[in-house]
C-alpha cells in the first residue's frame, strides 16, 4: 500500500477513527489494532512477506528475553550472535545472495576457473533492510545493557511492524519507540494538526517535486549519449532532487502519520542540501541510518579511538557497508566508498563537527563563504549520486565522461522546465530551514493558510493519476 494512493488515504481514516474510538485507556487493544493494521498494510504488497517480518520479530523477541535472562557472558554473546545471524541471514538470502553468487562467478571466470553456482528466483521483500536493522538494534541494546527487554509480545511486534515507518524508516531505535507502545498515548490537538501538515508537505515533495524530476532524470540517464554535458548535469541535479523529495517526502508522511496516533518518530532529514561539508551532509541526510551505522558499526569497530590509520579504515568500512545496505550492486558500494573518501580530509583536520548549526543561522542569507561551501559540498554529492543512479559502474563512468566534456559549458536547451520545481523547493526550504518542516508554524491568517494547504493539495491530486512507488522501498 503506497502512501501516495487513495487506498492508503481510506485505510488511514478507518484505522485512525477506530484507534481513537478504542481510546488511550485500552492500550492493549490500541496496540493490537496497530499490529493488525500494520500487517494488513504490509501484506497489501504480498501476504507472503508477512512470514518474514513475523519470524524476524519472534526471533528477536525471544532472544532479547534470553540475553537479558542470563548473566553468563558467553551465553549472552551466543544469543546476540543468533539474533544477528538470523537477521543478516534473512537479508543475505533475500537481498544479497544472487549478487554475491554472480560476482563470485565473474571473479572465478576471470581467473579461468569454471564454476557453477545456481542463482535463485527471489523477490526482494519491501523494506526488509529497514525492519531487520530496527529489530537488530533491539537485541544489541539489550546485550549492551542499555535497554530492558519487553515481555509484551503485542507491543514488540507492533514496534517492529509499525506501519508508518515499516517500509522505509525512519529506522527507529527500540529505546525511543518501544516505550511509546507501553505507555498511554493521549490525543494532542496541536501535534495532530502539525502531523497533517507534515503529511501534506511530504506528499507535495514526493508527488509533485520528486515525480516531476524523475521524468527528466529517467530520460537523461536512459540515453546520456543523446545529450550535452550541461543536460547531463541537469540530469544528475534532477536525480538529486528526486531522491531527496522522494525519501524525505516519505519520512515526512511517516512522521506525520505517527503523530496522528500519538507517536513521535525521530527526524530523518534536516535540509541536507544546505550542508557546508560532507560530515554535515551525513548528519542531515537519512539521519536514522547514519546514526545506526555510527552506533552499531563505526563505534564497535573502534571509531576514532585507535590509531589514525585504524580510524580511517573504520570510516571507509562504515561508509562502504552503508553503501552496500542500499542494494546488491557495485554502484552502491562505490557510492558509499566515495562518501568515505570525501569524509577523510575533514576527519584528518579534525573538522568533521565544525558545522552543527544550519547554514545562515539567524540570518536571511548565507555568507559568501557558506554559499561556496554549500555549492562545493553539493557538487561532491552530485558526483556520488551518478554512481547511485547508474545501472552499473561502466555506465556511471561513461555518464561522468560525457558530463565533463566541453559541452558541459553549453547552454542546455532541453529538459529545463523541471528547474521550476527545483527552484520552488530550494526557496521554500531555505526560508523554512529553522523549522522541522516548511508548513510548521506558518504564521499567516487562517484563510491564507487554508489557501496554501488547498493549493498544495490540488497540486498533489493533479499528479496522482498512477501513484509512483518510493525509491527507498527497494532497499
Amino acid at each position: 500500500m503506497l502512501f501516495n494512493s487513495y487506498t492508503f488515504f481510506f485505510f488511514l481514516i478507518v484505522v485512525y477513527l477506530l484507534y481513537w474510538k478504542i481510546g488511550p485507556r485500552n492500550l492493549k487493544a490500541q496496540n493490537v489494532l496497530i499490529l493488525v493494521a500494520s500487517y494488513v498494510f504490509y501484506g497489501w504488497w504480498d501476504y507472503r512477506f508477512l512470514s518474514l517480518i513475523f519470524i524476524s520479530s519472534l526471533v528477536d523477541f525471544l532472544l532479547g528475553l534470553r540475553i537479558h535472562g542470563t548473566e553468563n557472558q558467553r551465553a549472552r554473546r551466543l544469543f546476540l550472535t543468533m539474533s544477528i545471524v538470523a537477521n543478516l541471514g534473512l537479508l543475505g538470502v533475500f537481498k544479497y545472495y544472487n549478487f554475491f553468487v554472480s560476482e563470485m562467478l565473474s571473479l572465478l571466470t576471470g581467473l579461468g576457473v569454471s564454476a557453477n553456482f545456481g542463482t535463485m528466483q527471489i523477490i526482494l521483500p519491501v523494506g526488509i533492510s529497514f525492519y531487520t536493522f530496527q529489530t537488530m538494534s533491539y537485541t544489541i541494546d539489550i546485550y549492551r545493557r542499555q535497554l530492558e527487554p519487553t515481555r509484551d509480545p503485542i507491543a514488540f511486534f507492533s514496534f517492529v511492524s509499525f506501519f508508518p515507518q515499516l517500509v522505509a524508516g525512519p529506522i527507529e531505535r527500540a529505546k525511543n519507540l518501544l516505550p511509546q507502545f507501553q505507555k498511554e498515548r493521549s490525543f494532542d490537538y496541536d501535534s495532530s494538526v502539525d502531523g497533517l501538515r507534515q503529511i501534506l508537505w511530504g506528499l507535495f515533495k514526493k508527488v509533485v517535486i520528486a515525480d516531476s524530476c524523475a521524468t527528466y532524470a529517467n530520460q537523461i540517464f536512459a540515453a546520456p549519449d543523446q545529450f550535452s554535458g550541461s543536460v547531463l548535469l541537469l540530469g544528475v541535479l534532477y536525480f538529486a532532487i528526486q531522491i531527496y523529495g522522494d525519501f524525505s517526502g516519505y519520512s515526512d508522511i511517516a512522521i506525520g502519520t505517527a503523530r496522528l496516533f500519538g507517536f513521535t518518530l525521530m527526524r530523518n532529514f534536516a535540509y541536507p542540501y544546505f550542508s557546508r561539508d560532507i560530515a554535515e551532509f551525513w548528519r542531515r541526510w537519512h539521519i536514522s541510518l547514519s546514526s545506526w551505522f555510527r552506533d552499531y558499526v563505526y563505534i564497535p569497530l573502534g571509531g576514532n579511538r585507535g590509531t589514525v590509520r585504524r580510524s580511517l579504515i573504520n570510516i571507509i568500512v562504515t561508509f562502504t557497508v552503508s553503501g552496500l545496505w542500499h542494494g546488491a550492486n557495485t554502484t552502491f558500494i562505490v557510492w558509499g566508498f566515495l562518501n568515505g573518501l570525501y569524509y577523510i580530509p575533514l576527519f584528518l583536520r579534525g573538522k568533521q563537527k565544525k558545522n552543527t548549526e544550519i547554514a545562515g543561522f539567524g540570518r536571511h542569507f548565507p555568507s559568501l563563504r557558506e554559499a561556496i561551501s554549500m555549492l562545493a559540498t553539493f557538487i561532491l554529492v552530485l558526483i556520488a549520486w551518478v554512481f547511485f543512479r547508474a545501472p552499473d559502474l561502466s555506465a556511471a563512468i561513461h555518464y561522468l565522461g560525457v558530463l565533463l566534456s566541453p559541452s558541459l559549458f553549453s547552454i542546455p536547451t532541453t529538459q529545463v522546465l523541471g528547474l521550476f520545481w527545483i527552484a520552488v523547493l530550494i526557496a521554500v526550504e531555505w526560508v523554512s530551514r529553522h523549522k522541522e518542516h516548511p508548513l510548521q508554524r506558518l504564521g499567516f491568517r487562517a484563510e491564507l493558510r487554508w489557501g496554501a494547504y488547498a493549493t498544495l493539495a490540488v497540486l498533489v491530486v493533479s499528479k496522482l493519476s498512477e501513484p509512483q512507488t518510493f525509491i527507498y522501498f527497494q532497499f
Binding site: 490537538y189 522546465l417 521550476f420 488547498a454 490540488v458 496522482l464
Partner: protein, 324 residues
Amino acid sequence: MKRFVIRAAGFGFFLLAILVAGIWLPPSGMNDSLLFALPDKMVRLEKLKSPRIVLIGGSSCSFGFESRIIEERTGRPVVNMGAHAGLGLKYFIDQVRDKIARDDIVVLSIEYEQLADGESPAFYGGSLLVPVVVDIDQYAVNDLDVNQWKTILKNIGYYSANKMVGHVETPIAAIFRKQALKKRKWGHYGRMSFNEYGDVRKELISVGFSVEPSKSCDGPLLKPAFEYLIRFDRYLKDMGAHLLVTYPAMQRSSLVKIAGFASEVDSALIAGGLTIIGKPTMFGVEDKDLFNTMYHLNASGRERHTLRFATLLQKHLKAIGAGL
C-alpha cells in the same frame, strides 16, 4: 479530538468543493486532442445512410484501416470510429449502439488486452474515460456500469485538479516556451489528425519507427467482456444488423509473445457464436509496416492490411447475404 476531526473533515470538504468546481472549468490544453474528434466521427456516423459499415475499436482501428478501400470494395459508406484503447471496448460499443440501423455492418477490431482480466481491465476503460464523460460525450453517463464509475471516481479528482493547474501552468510555461501559447501540435493524436472517414490521415503516418516487441497482455480472459459482446451481437441481430469481429494488425514478433492468449480469445469468441473475420495469426505484420507502436500501422502497412481485410470482408458479406 472532536474539534480536530471536524476541522480535518472541513478541510476535506473544502478541497472536495474546489475539485468539484474545477470539473466545470473548460478543458485546458487538450481541446485539440484526439478525444475531441469523437463528436466529429459521431456526426459522420449519423449523416451516413444505412446500410453502412461502422468500424469500431481503439487506435489500432484508426491506424489500421483505410476506409476508402473498404468503401470501394463493398460499395457501402464507411465510418471509422476508432479512437483510443484507453476508453475501453465497452465504451466503443455503447457509443454506437443506439445509432446502428437495420442492415448496418459493425466491424469490431479488438486489441487483445481489451479482453484480458486484471486489476483494472482495459475493457472498462481507464483515466481517459473521464475527459470524455465530463467534457465530450455527457450522454455516456447513462451507459456507465459500476466498473466504469469506479474508474471515473478514481480519476475525476486528478482530471479536475489538472484542469485547474493547466489554466495556471500554460501561461507560465509560455514564458519559458514560446510555442506553449500557440496551438499545441498533436501530430497523429489530435482532433485534426483524421480524414473524412475517421482514419488517421495518411500523410501523418508515412514513415515508420523502430518498435520493440513486447507482451501486451496475459492472464485469464475477462468473461464479462465476452458476455457483453454476445449481448451486443444479439441486439444487432434482433434489429437486422450484423456484428463482425476481427483482430487488429499487430507486430508479428509481439503477437508471438501472446499467441496462447490470442488463441484463447479466438476460441472463446467462436464458442460465443460470434462471426469472426480471420484468425489472429493472419494479421501479424512485419516491422516495416509499423508506424510507432505494435498496433499502429504506417501508410503502406495500413494499405496492405486493409486490402487483406477487405477481401475477407467481401466473402463474409456474401455469406451473410449482405454483399454487393
